[in-house]
Structures are given as structure tokens and as C-alpha cells.
């Protein structure tokens, strides 16, 4: 229950971190440590080198850009939770962060760390899937960007080369006054979800849905966008009855099975969580005229 011995590096810039990752063998990155530290303490990971990103101020940023928020990978979850800018431009992220661990872990945990850990039932990867986020990664070889949909390479495995690090996440704006809802079912609050759902809605003056996004976490190895439900929503007047009807399709999704729940239970939760997330999204839509 004590971490193995490693050499410690704490670069001050992204470039230094990249050059360390390019030259060191068996090196791991340390972000907020709220998942990596337990894995080190239990010796699930045994790196020869640990590169701590905690001193890189350039990665701890919330930047307003036209059409999107650009967030540095080392931004603490607690800073996102309390950011007026995030609340105004990306309320789904604020909804979701209430479910991420606990206050003590959010004080240290980062958005980039959570995305790279890529637990299938974690909240922040599903938020990125729901919003069609763009991921920027950097190495000594250069910088590349990818849509979040291409970021998961497999179960808890991001599509990062061993020398690459996630630097920024871009969250595209949804129109002012859009609906947003995030719900999850977990055995205890603060645990990873068994199943979670994130929903976004845009309606016109008559209440007809013009745009919809529905994402499920905890169902597959990575967040699942439920395109069939999204398509079934657009063009119809938003109502709890409509949501009840269209979310039945979630029962047919392929679902994981583990010690926490069998696949059939996850499919049932997928239906219920989807419906509740859409209900919450509808309830959050600002009244017409705003």
C-alpha cells in the first residue's frame, strides 16, 4: 500500500513535459492524482518516472473563445464547478461536476486527468461526448486535435501515444437558453455511476425540438451517443410523454456486465436515466423570450 520508487519530475512548461516524455522510458504523467495515486499506492502501476504536471500554469486555464470554451487539462474540477464563465456558457459541465467524487477530491482532481483515466462511468468524458468536444494533444513531435468521439481507443484507454499529453479541451457553445440535464444512478453519491445520462435540448418558440443530444455513460466501454433517440426527438414538441416514448429505444443498447449490475439492469437504467435527463433538460429551458 505504498507507492513503488520512481524518479520525480515537475516541469514548468508543456514543452519541458513533452521532452521528458519523449526521452524517458516507462514514464507516467501525474495530473490531479485522484485516480493515479490509488493506482500507485496499490502498485497497479509501477512507473520508473513520474512527470507531475502540477506546476504548469499554462494548463490551468478557462479561456473564452468565440463559439467555445477552451479549458486547460490541469484545471481543477473545483475551479470549473465555481467558474461563472463555465456556468454561463456550459451549464451541463456544472451539472455534471456535482456528481464527480467529493469536495476533497474535486479540490485536486482535474478535467484532463479524468478524461485520460477514461473510466466508462465517469462524468466528464460523457460531458465531452454530449458536447462534441475537441481534444488537443501535444508531444515533442507536434500538436494534433481530434473530436472527442475519436479519443477513446478502448476500455479506459485514450488514443494517446506514450509520449503525448492532453493539453486542452474545447467545449462548443450551445445556444443561450438551451436545456441541459445530467443525472446518474450510483450505489452511493460520489461513487462512479452504474449508469449516467447527459441531455441537451434546443426548442423553438412553439416548443418544438430543433436540436438534441443524448449521451449514456456506464453502458459501454466509452460514452455512447444515442443517435436514434436524438433523431426521434427533433421535429417534435418537447414533453415528458414524448421522452417516455422515445427513450424506450435505449433498452436495445448493448450493455456491459460487471459485479455492480447485469446488462439487463443497465439497459433498464439507460431508459430511466435518459428520460430523467431529458425531463431535467426541458425543465431548465429558459422561458420563451429569454
Amino acid at each position: 500500500m505504498k507507492p513503488p520508487a520512481f524518479a520525480y519530475h515537475d516541469p514548468g512548461t508543456v514543452e519541458e513535459a513533452c521532452s521528458l516524455m519523449a526521452s524517458l522510458d516507462n514514464a507516467r504523467l501525474l495530473a490531479g492524482g485522484q485516480s493515479m495515486m490509488p493506482m500507485l499506492n496499490m502498485r497497479f502501476v509501477m512507473p520508473d518516472h513520474l512527470v507531475d504536471l502540477g506546476r504548469i500554469a499554462a494548463l490551468s486555464t478557462i479561456e473564452e473563445r468565440p463559439g467555445a470554451l477552451r479549458i486547460g487539462a490541469m484545471t481543477r474540477q473545483r475551479d470549473l464547478e465555481h467558474s461563472a464563465v463555465v456556468r454561463a456558457r456550459c451549464p451541463l459541465l456544472v451539472d455534471a461536476i456535482q456528481w464527480v467524487g467529493h469536495r476533497q477530491t474535486r479540490n485536486r482532481g482535474t478535467i484532463g486527468g479524468s478524461l485520460c483515466q477514461l473510466d466508462p462511468a465517469a462524468e466528464l468524458p460523457s460531458v465531452c461526448a454530449a458536447l462534441d468536444a475537441t481534444i488537443t494533444v501535444q508531444s515533442a513531435r507536434g500538436t494534433r486535435t481530434m473530436p472527442f468521439a475519436e479519443f477513446p481507443a478502448g476500455y479506459m484507454t485514450p488514443s494517446l501515444e506514450p509520449d503525448e499529453l492532453l493539453t486542452h479541451i474545447e467545449l462548443p457553445d450551445w445556444p443561450r437558453g438551451h436545456g441541459h440535464g445530467f443525472v446518474e444512478f450510483a450505489r452511493r453519491h460520489g461513487d462512479y455511476a452504474v449508469v449516467l445520462a447527459a441531455a441537451l435540448l434546443v426548442t423553438d418558440a412553439a416548443g418544438t425540438i430543433t436540436r438534441a443530444s443524448l449521451t449514456l455513460g456506464g453502458i459501454g466501454p466509452a460514452p455512447v451517443r444515442v443517435a436514434a433517440v436524438e433523431q426521434a426527438l427533433v421535429g417534435h414538441v418537447a414533453s415528458p410523454a414524448l421522452f417516455r416514448q422515445v427513450t424506450e429505444a435505449c433498452r436495445a443498447l448493448e450493455a456491459m456486465e460487471d459485479i455492480h449490475a447485469p446488462a439487463s439492469y443497465r439497459q433498464q437504467l439507460a431508459v430511466v436515466m435518459s428520460r430523467r435527463a431529458l425531463d431535467a433538460a426541458l425543465a431548465s429551458i429558459a422561458p420563451a423570450g429569454h
Binding site: A7, Y8, G101, R103, Q104, N107, G190
Partner: protein, 165 residues
Amino acid sequence: MASKMAITLNVNGTEHEIRVEPRKTLSDALRGECGLTGTNVGCEHGVCGACTVLMDGAPVRSCLMFAVQAQGRELRTVEGLAASSKDGGKLHALQQAFIDNHALQCGFCTSGFLMLAAGTLEQQPDIDDESLREVLSSNLCRCTGYQNILRAVRQVRDAGQGGAR
């Protein structure tokens, strides 16, 4: 490769110059190198909260960070709550409330709960009941059933004594 590093930890206003391997967690350094054994180590993977300390005023789990990462930060542990014995040794309001409300039995989780509650009340002196339950639910106690801990913290909040001795 795992040679010791010389670092300085500022704990409860006192500078501790210590030498630690980089793999030494903050909780182990506080106990072993600084001699501050009030911080307890329970699960060592961030689940139980017994090792909660305040870093720059915010509650963190000291088993989930390395001592070398705490350089230049202001740390507070349970030893810093009461007045020193030469200043009369008066207990912090939270410590007194824990005694008065039977909010501890075996005491293993107590320092973690005290630091969590102290940090929370300093940041949010008028925190509502629901939020307080949510905050306190992050630490484990196997003796009290939590109600007495809630009662103790609520009492200190209601008396406006979150930062008081």
C-alpha cells in the same frame, strides 16, 4: 534513482525541513517526518477521508498526494485546531462540539472529519443542511452512525463559530 529530496513543509504555521523520497505521500510525511501523528491513515486510496488536511484552506486527502507536491503550500492538520498549551490549550469550537455531541467513539476518523468540517465552515459559514450532509458523506465513520457528527457541525455553524476556539 529514488534518492531523498530536501523539502520544507509549512504545517500549522511551523516550517518543517525534512528529507523524503518522492514516493512518500503527504500523509506519511506528516506522521513520520513531521511527527504530527494526529492525521490518521486509513485506506490509502482516497475512500475513507481519515487523512483529510487543509491545503491553502481547502480540504484534501493527504494520501492522494506526495509530500514533495505540498512545498510552498500552507498546510493545516488537527494539531493546529486547538490553542497551544502555553496559550491555554483551549479546544476549537468543533472539537468541543464533537465531545459534547458524542460525535466520536474510537476516534480514528475524527481528525479527518474535524479538518473537513473546519475547512468547509471557513469557506461556507452558512452552508445549508443538505450541502453539509453531502460534504460529510465523503468521509467514513463506523462508530457514530454520522448523526452525531452532523449535529456537532450544525451546532458550530448555527453558533457562527466555524473559525473560533
